[in-house]
Symmetry: C2
DNA sequence: TAAACTTATGTAAACGTTTACATTATTAAT
DNA sequence: ATTAATAATGTAAACGTTTACATAAGTTTA
């Protein structure tokens, strides 16, 4: 059906080896021959058979991206970042989220055991033992996004959560003048959440502010969770004058509660988030939050992975930390 | 490196043909042999080489999804839908959005010419001549999401925009009692936008409401566009009492302007959108909008494509229209 | 018990490339 | 003009499967 190099060889009166060399622009092919072959290939609308090429090269030019769920803009941005880099280097990306019918482990196993992808990028908030072992034992190159640095023979890219949380807390203190800053944490096993919490603690300490345990509330990174946490905080007898929600969605949950109580943001109570999702700019007042370069997370992971695929073990392991910045909204005084 | 069927054959003292048959659970293999072979495969941690298999089967079990840009939850949901169906049928999905470095045509060409994917799902708001020809001439099965039915030898899935727009306009009239309903349209070449506009017109006509050209404003499906359109409408001497924005993002733009002017939604002016994006439930008052089953769009397209891949031309062309529903928010009176 | 099936296995080709090695044609060096 | 070096091309194997066809082994049937 599809023309093959055999067909081209016949028409050009050369061997298939020469055709292959010509089409791949290898050296040692007379220019005339090369031109002729390319012309014929063009005429026949020739396209190389990828499977055949993969078979001999033992590469597929495909990278896999494993994530818990394709949802929310965060992952979307990361996907975009990976895709751009992949495309630029001649790779394709297969996205595999886990869902009702497929577990993360299953996906990962599939990607790593079969000679199906050249490398895998994994972005999961909490790496459990099983996943850890899977990754450590993998012959396929892996890059992990945003996990705790507990797998050290693997390249990683992550957000500097500590720095982000530290600076926004510091900002709330130094610039806005808040003194009683509460925090709504993220899920307990979530590494990002942990690091953010630590940044918050350090900032308080460095500013000689005592940590008040009543103002440290567990959250779950959902809006509902934000609402509940916020209403707990606002009904305390000694209530905080600012709330640092460990992600934007929870911060938006706070907005709801605060508005319902007829309080003013940022005068009665300041609010800050983390992530800088689009929504944070849609709401009023605009949310003060931490900008996370989501797409960059993807591009960096992509670069690292492709480098690893192409250079193998000659390159040493990289642990990349991507810094964040503050988005100065109006949900905090200034 | 990786064990092959050859290695298994050697250990089991059989030919590679038998191994292949045993592993693929084909008939005509003695049960003892089958069990033995499978045991050895297991021990060796054997995984079939996909490239080799693809080479002979001339299939890759990969489907491509082409979209203009991975952005916003709409596409995300569709991706999720496709992924689920694909996975269920043993396929993988490669997502290729166009971006700075890659045009839609380029992506499409890449997918359709090479024997790289078994089928392609295309979701682009406006199919131009070049794309049309590309699709019509494709030997690779294609399913188009949400485009005008102008390519008839291809399966399509689309939202019933007309019905959605008709019913929400009708709702604004019949249930909310609005009489002066303006519309903010979508981009001129966008097919969804056109159909929505037609639904609006029909609903007015069927309710014996005269169409007022001043209340028909061009929009562009962006928040900013919604703001501008809204402020134009609200400064008219004869201003509408309700606005139907052809997508939610523009409706949210309207909220901004209306709030700024100190007007009340839904009493001074009603607002309705289209798409039912998450955001529509975050804002207050909750937006009255048209629910679009985004994930279903993906699953249906996936099913159609895989069916086409596996059944070939024996199955006749399907043009599927997916109905929508109204989300009764508080941005309209009731 | 031979003939006729059926079942189980093997042989070898095919899929479409790439590439090591061999060969021939061309150019440079003496 | 002969030899040496280089450039261009060809030959054939290899990649790891699947599968048509051939063969061997086992089971009915008359």
């Amino acid at each position: 059906m599809n023309p093959t190099i055999k067909e081209i060889a016949k028409r050009a009166n050369v061997s298939i080896a020469t055709v292959s060399r010509a089409l791949n622009d290898l050296s040692n092919v007379k220019n005339d021959t090369k031109v002729l072959i390319k012309k014929i290939a063009e005429e026949l609308n020739y396209n190389p058979n990828i499977a055949a090429r993969n078979l001999v090269s033992k590469k597929t030019q495909i990278i896999g991206f494993v994530l818990p769920e394709i949802e929310g803009e965060f992952y979307t941005e990361v996907i975009k970042g990976i895709d751009k880099v992949a495309y630029g280097s001649g790779y394709h990306m297969i996205v595999a989220s886990s869902h009702s019918e497929r577990s993360i482990v299953e996906t990962l196993t599939n990607f790593m055991k079969r000679n199906f992808v050249d490398g895998v990028i994994v972005m999961i908030p909490a790496v459990n033992q099983q996943v850890k072992e899977l990754i450590e034992g993998s012959r396929v190159p892996v890059v992990i996004i945003n996990a705790k640095n507990e797998i050290d023979n693997v390249d990683t890219v992550s957000i500097d959560n500590y720095q982000g949380a530290y600076s926004i807390t510091n900002y709330l203190i130094k610039n806005s003048g808040y003194k009683k800053i509460a925090i709504i944490k993220g899920p307990a096993q979530n590494n990002d959440a942990l690091e953010r919490f630590e940044g918050y603690l350090s900032a308080l300490t460095d500013n000689n502010i005592e940590v008040n345990d009543n103002w440290i509330i567990e959250g779950d990174f959902t809006m509902k969770g934000g609402e509940l946490a916020c209403s707990r905080l606002l009904t305390l007898s000694d209530r905080p004058d600012a709330i640092f929600a460990c992600n934007d969605i929870m911060a938006i949950g706070c907005y709801k509660v605060i508005n319902n109580l007829g309080l003013n943001i940022p005068d009665d109570i300041g609010v800050a988030g983390f992530d800088h999702i689009n929504l944070s700019e849609f709401i009023l007042p605009h949310l003060t939050t931490v900008h996370v370069p989501k797409e960059e997370l993807g591009t960096e992971a992509g670069k690292l992975l492709i480098d690893r695929i192409e250079k193998g073990d000659t390159k040493e392991i990289t642990h990349l930390k991507i810094s964040t910045g503050i988005v100065f909204g109006n949900s905090s005084k200034n």
